[in-house]
Subunit: 285 residues, 2 copies
């Protein structure tokens, strides 16, 4: 009889639900000034980044998150040139934004330098855009960065944060969204990750309420991510002036699709904004 | 120190991924002529039905599956009157179909009488439609039932099956879909459950190919179900003549929505047909 150690990673959701992933190897474990950082080689999803023990991204399904958080706002803006990404130290959001030739400058403002280092080493396909000449890497506090930013100067702000606990918490406050709105031009757009479709109502309501404190128009959207809690995630796009989500730039989408999008396409550019009744009710109540 | 037994149910997907649900109690365990039947009281999803150890339905998220498999075809048909449900012994599909006043007769053809008995006892809210006067319960083999059915006589056939292993296997064959097509009128529609968005390509391709053997027009669609593998499920609607999925009956949808739909609405009637590129590629390759 051969005795073989079997590693399993379990993410415990708070309501008695677990996601279990068979692991081959722990590639990296350390504690930065802000959080624990782990990289695990899994059987099914390739390499997986964990911050404070929670799944942040995996090789196999990262494309969903990164395509959704970047192309939806970029294609809903007429001419995005100046972009700030808050968080996003794995580089995936920057990689997707760089597919838009209109974008001249992306400031990547990540608080935790260890995340960038680890991702450049262990996730080269995700992090490959970080050293692009159009990208300015700024290791620092995103809240302070946005507060001090020149008003009325940005086209897109992408809040690619962790969950609203730990170092990401301040990125979910009404005050933060107000400072993002101040830094955006009048036709500028913000997108933040806004937790899962099946999350408890109070979590979703707080995010929705706080985004609405900074922006008059709020557009949540959803997509399927199997390694995130309950398998369906949400993002929230927000603007000062109303936008017509059916009127995105199809010609630019076609060019982007030719670069090999694995999730997004013309139907989904509006389809992701079609929300189940129970989710809409949770946001409102 | 108090020692408390903690029960966990784990569904092991084949690729080193597990779903874990904390359980309070096992309410029912038996083996029918066809499969094992279990009912577990879970912490997060209420009661859960398992067939051969796999999650079939739970109190908390059953509405997604049952709304999607019934209202999508019913509202894409001009006047559904005669309907057959193959499988579906929990009654949830029948409960949703009964919301359509146009439907005069539903034959519920379930192979396993134990499933019906257990669901009527432990899932009264799901099974409550089974004894409706418009429903004819037929405990028997769905394959034989469809083969022997009068040709050109049905408006809708809903294949509410288990997975393509065990007693449900034959419900995924090309021969079965051909006999369904034979029994449908020229404007009739079939819908079958067709496994998950993230399932391996060969499983999805086989279903897609076999449905296409019976029907000239095939319309897959998707929705979020957290207790099913990887959290996003698919169904496939099929017809002999092309249908325009944007041209569903909105007036009838509004009446149905007033009965309290938790998932479906006007936007999703087309939104569920917006499919990620990677899934479309899997179906085709």
């Amino acid at each position: 009889m051969k005795l073989v150690m079997q590693l399993w990673y379990y993410e415990d959701y708070e309501d008695g639900v677990k996601l279990g992933l068979a692991a081959k190897e722990v590639l990296f474990r350390d504690k930065s000034d802000f959080q624990t950082v782990d990289v695990i080689e899994t059987e099914s999803y390739g390499r997986m980044l964990l911050l404070d023990g929670l799944v942040m991204t995996t090789d196999k399904d990262e494309f969903v998150y990164h395509e959704l958080i970047s192309h939806v706002p970029a294609l809903n803006h007429k001419k995005p040139e100046r972009v700030v990404v808050i968080g996003g130290g794995d580089g995936g959001t920057v990689r997707e934004l760089l597919k838009h030739p209109e974008i001249k400058e992306i400031v990547l403002c990540e608080i935790d330098g260890m995340v960038v280092e680890v991702c450049e080493k262990y996730f080269p396909e995700i992090a490959k855009g970080i050293r692009d000449p159009r990208v300015k890497l700024n290791i620092g506090d995103g809240i302070a960065y946005m507060e001090e930013h020149e008003a009325n100067s940005l086209d897109l702000v992408i809040v690619d944060s962790t969950d609203p606990i730990g170092p990401g918490e301040g990125l979910f406050s009404g005050a933060f969204y107000k400072s993002v709105a101040r830094a955006l031009k009048s036709d500028g757009l913000m997108v933040c990750q806004s937790e899962g479709l099946w999350h408890p109502a109070p979590v979703l309501q707080r995010i929705h309420k706080n985004v609405s404190a900074g922006f008059a128009h709020v557009y949540p959207y959803i997509a399927s991510i199997p390694t995130y809690p309950k398998g369906t995630w949400s993002w929230t796009m927000a603007s000062k002036n109303a936008i017509d989500i059916k009127n995105f730039d199809k010609a630019r989408l076609n060019k982007i699709e030719a670069t090999g999008l694995k999730y997004m396409n013309e139907d989904l550019m509006t389809g992701v904004f079609a929300l189940p009744n129970f989710f809409k009710a949770k946001l409102k109540s």
